[in-house]
């Protein structure tokens, strides 16, 4: 329980109901641990996330936002990858305009069985945020 | 008998309300057929509802069974009779069977019972609880177990002293000793046999000392010790209440053993033992767990990985045949075994031994049938007339079989077998309507 004293960064994850949610659930099933300050909000598809939500999360105090994108597995079609990439680009610009470090937004494709990769992403993102921010 | 005999009719009769029977009932009901689901126990859910967690995902059994059970129990197309038995099944025409259903009195009006347990508190009797495999007591007025369905009290009339305390305590007046056996005449179009399996009686192998040595228990007893509704506050050995720290599993007890009349492999014991070993390592982090095996049969989806995971957690696997288990001082147990790696006889001391008993057929199913013969296989499981191409068909047209009634199988296979029986029964009903 040595971990208890260690602070962890607040990360908001946007995940998708059909694809990345199952991977995040399976990480729990397999008891693959990641910081408990990682919170998930499910949306149908990662290309439906509004940049304003992400900016709102920083404004309210989240250290980082992670988009667990559908990638090519998206049930709504392959245009998802490109569209999600586009909205991340748009958000990065908005972040710069508002003086928010763009590295605080990350995205990776998390497929329905990518539990280990999700946990790895969370751990490294947490470490990065702890190092660069006064959490 | 003075009871008025009721006539009832349904599209399908499903005998046995374990997970296989329940799945069949749901599939039929969801496609519009009326089903009567009968079980001799006081609750639906069969053996699975009694388990702790299930391999290889370690989902809790209750999380899987209770929603199904609840869906079954409130489905408008399903009628459930618990504490009931089927007999005299007769084929009277191409698509019609008759049967008798005997409904034993529960002495509780289920619809009025709120499962408040006040009768249980009031009852003065204490007898061994069959749902905890005798590890602990229960009352004569009792709720079978916490997640049973219907969730209602029952009276164990064998042990009841008819003192009336339960009646006085009951706030809804649901206890009724005037209840009598009801016998019903049944008309159905198709029958699905889902009568499940029996466990090998470990007392039939005296050299392992079950029943004699108090710290030798069966895996089903350990299953209860590990379940959320466990009988003790923690894992204890029943001989003296000690927390065990050197636990042994003996595999193939009553399976792959022609000398006890069961030459076949039970298919599930390796995996349930590995699962229990993992759960024990979680519950008692300091304990040593050793599994004595002949072959580990982790053949299903995710099973081999689960076996390797147990090894990684530190479960000790010893390839060896156990010759004899003797009790030594302090209730500990000495296992004599043939160590196959070393090629010699060895001895090892453990403070608790779990016998991974095998799967046997539930006998007597063929006796339900009157003018047609339900053929059994050489091991007395229900015979499959076309095992490869139509595994759910039996020797009687219109009678189908689901789950472990046909032989040992794990939960996913039982569900698939139930899906197959459902498919055959639905086709049969549609073709003959």
């Amino acid at each position: 329980m040595g971990e208890l004293n260690k602070k962890s960064a607040k990360i908001l994850v946007f995940s998708t109901e059909k694809i990345s949610d199952p991977a995040i659930d399976m990480a729990g099933l397999l008891k693959l641990h990641y910081p408990p300050t990682v919170y998930t909000i499910s949306v149908p598809c990662s290309s439906g996330i509004k940049p304003s939500w992400i900016l709102y999360a920083y404004e309210k105090g989240f250290d980082g936002v992670f988009i667990a994108a559908d990638g090519s597995d998206c049930v709504f079609g392959e245009s998802c990858t490109e569209k999600t990439g586009h909205l991340v680009g748009k958000t990065h610009n908005l972040m710069k305009e508002n003086g928010i470090e763009p590295a605080r937004l990350r995205m990776a494709a998390i497929c329905s069985v990518c539990s280990e990769s999700f946990v790895k992403q969370m751990r490294t993102f947490n470490e990065y945020l702890l190092k660069t921010r006064d959490v | 008998m003075e009871n008025p005999i009721k006539n009832i009719s349904y599209d399908a009769l499903v005998i046995g309300a374990g997970i296989a029977g329940g799945e069949v009932a749901l599939n039929l009901a969801n496609t519009g057929f009326k089903v009567l689901l009968v079980d001799k126990e006081l609750s639906v859910g069969g053996k699975m509802i009694m388990l702790s967690k299930v391999f290889p995902t370690l989902d809790c059994a209750a999380c899987i069974t209770t929603p199904k059970v609840s869906e079954i129990s409130r489905h408008p197309n399903i009628t459930i009779f618990t504490g009931s038995e089927v007999s005299n099944i007769k084929k009277i025409s191409d698509n019609e069977f008759t049967a008798k259903v005997t409904k034993h009195p529960r002495y509780v009006r289920v619809e009025d019972c709120t499962a408040c347990q006040l009768c249980e508190h009031a009852c003065p009797v204490n007898v061994r609880d069959q749902y905890q495999f005798g590890l602990i007591g229960r009352k004569a007025a009792f709720i079978p177990f916490s997640i049973c369905s219907p969730k209602a009290a029952a009276i164990d009339i064998d042990n009841c002293t008819l003192c009336g305390a339960c009646e006085k305590a009951c706030p809804t007046n649901c206890i009724d000793f005037t209840q009598e056996t009801e016998i019903m005449d049944l008309h159905i179009k198709t029958v699905v046999v889902a009568t499940g399996f029996d466990m090998f009686d470990a007392k039939k192998m005296p050299r392992y000392g079950y029943g004699q040595h108090k710290n030798v228990i069966t895996a089903l007893q350990m299953e209860r010790e590990l379940a959320p509704t466990r009988p003790f506050n923690t894992i204890l050995r029943p001989g003296d209440g000690k927390v065990p720290d050197k636990i042994a599993y003996v595999l193939c007890v009553g399976s792959r053993d022609a000398s006890v009349g069961n030459p076949i492999c039970s298919q599930i014991c390796c995996m349930y033992s590995i699962k229990q070993a993992q759960l024990l390592m979680g519950a008692l982090p300091m304990a040593d767990v050793t599994i004595y095996y002949i072959n580990i049969r982790s053949f299903g989806k995710g099973f081999e990985e689960f076996y390797q995971q147990a090894k990684g957690m530190g479960v000790n696997f010893v390839k060896g045949k156990i010759g004899r288990i003797s009790e030594i001082e302090g209730g500990n147990l000495m296992l004599r075994y043939e160590d196959i790696n070393e090629g010699k006889l060895q001895e090892a001391e453990h403070d608790m031994v779990i016998l991974s008993t095998g799967v046997l057929p539930n006998t007597g199913i063929d006796k339900f049938f009157e003018n047609q013969t339900l053929t059994l296989d050489p091991f007395n499981f229900v015979g499959q007339s076309d095992a490869l191409a139509s595994p759910a068909k039996t020797s009687i047209e219109g009678v189908f079989v689901a789950g472990t009634a046909t032989g040992p199988m794990d939960i996913p296979d039982s569900i698939l077998s139930a899906g197959a029986a459902s498919s055959e029964a639905i086709s049969y009903l549609i073709q003959r309507s």
Binding site: - | T161, E180, P238, K242
Partner: protein
């Protein structure tokens, strides 16, 4: 079905003086069945008597001090496996509760649940 159960049911079914839904007062049906059966099985009586005796002995013993299974066995002169069964039943019914485990993490003590 056990023989006793069969016996009881046969009796109940064969000489029902009042018939189903007859004039037996709700809440007093046990008396009705006892009369109809002409008593209760000896085994049930014996079992209840034995349990009451053991329960009394155990609760008395725990009044003096908290005990482990082994200590209880010595005190009331009963095999340890029987003690586990009865003591655990008393824990379940709320008469007794589990206390501390010993230094070796082996045996729990049990005490009265006041």
């Amino acid at each position: 079905m056990t023989d006793i159960k069969k016996d009881i049911q046969n009796k109940a079914n064969s000489n029902s003086p009042l018939g189903v839904g007859g004039s037996v007062e709700i809440g007093k049906t046990a008396k009705y069945l006892r009369e109809k059966l002409g008593g209760i099985p000896q085994q049930a009586k014996d079992n209840l008597k034995e349990y009451n005796g053991i329960k009394k002995q155990m609760l008395e013993a725990l009044k003096e001090q908290d005990l482990t299974v082994k200590q209880m066995a010595e005190k009331i002169n009963m095999p340890t496996d029987q003690v586990v069964y009865y003591l655990m039943s008393l824990v379940k019914y709320g008469f007794v509760k589990t206390g501390e485990v010993d230094d070796m993490d082996e045996y729990y003590t049990y005490k009265l649940n006041k």
